[in-house]
Symmetry: C2
Subunit: 105 residues, 2 copies
Amino acid sequence: MKKGSAELLILAILEDGQRHGYEVARQIERRSRGAISFHVASLYPMLYRLEGRGLIEGRWVEKAGQRRRRYYRLTTDGAGVLAAQRSLWQEFFTGINRVARLRNA
Amino acid sequence: MKKGSAELLILAILEDGQRHGYEVARQIERRSRGAISFHVASLYPMLYRLEGRGLIEGRWVEKAGQRRRRYYRLTTDGAGVLAAQRSLWQEFFTGINRVARLRNA
DNA sequence: GCCCATATGTTGTCACACCACATATGGCCA
DNA sequence: TGGCCATATGTGGTGTGACAACATATGGGC
């Protein structure tokens, strides 16, 4: 599934609070009930890009007897982009539905 | 808008009958009420790919005082792929909605 | 001792969306 | 007459982004 939705999904997950990468992936898979699964090769590079653009902020957290984790939180800019993305995707879905007649309900 | 939806959209338009490339693009823009617009650099290469995969079939139609047009029709294979695509996109949308909470209705 | 779940990452490849450009015809308007 | 717009088809080059495969590291269960 290559649809360019990673940005929207990650930002939406982080809206609920701080999460580390692996957790973000699990949340997306869980919340979508398996419909959308994330691959590491998409996930981590996308997290760096989002951080580079200032939409999310990460910090390393180390605990004894655990691999280090990088926790991300949504920035103010990130929240703005999330709102814009939501709106764009909503419009896109409506358009697709009109053209391809997906939804019966 | 780069979302990989071209295949679904084109097949859905051709489901209604024969159309030439430019007409397909106009139909998509019209039916989506401007939400989705197609660019020639995506449209024609995609039509060739679909034809190469046997999902659509094209034939040249020449009329005096008109530029030649290539009309495409949906093949049986194409109809099958369209059904599969519809199902996939439906699932994808449901997943996105669950994760990103787009739809209130 | 091995595999699995957790957790993070890189390299290389491929599909595809788009910008810019190109060609060709007819109609409208100044 | 000349230019622009709509129609209609196409190409070359660029960039993004999704994924396969591989790599590293820790703890727990069998």
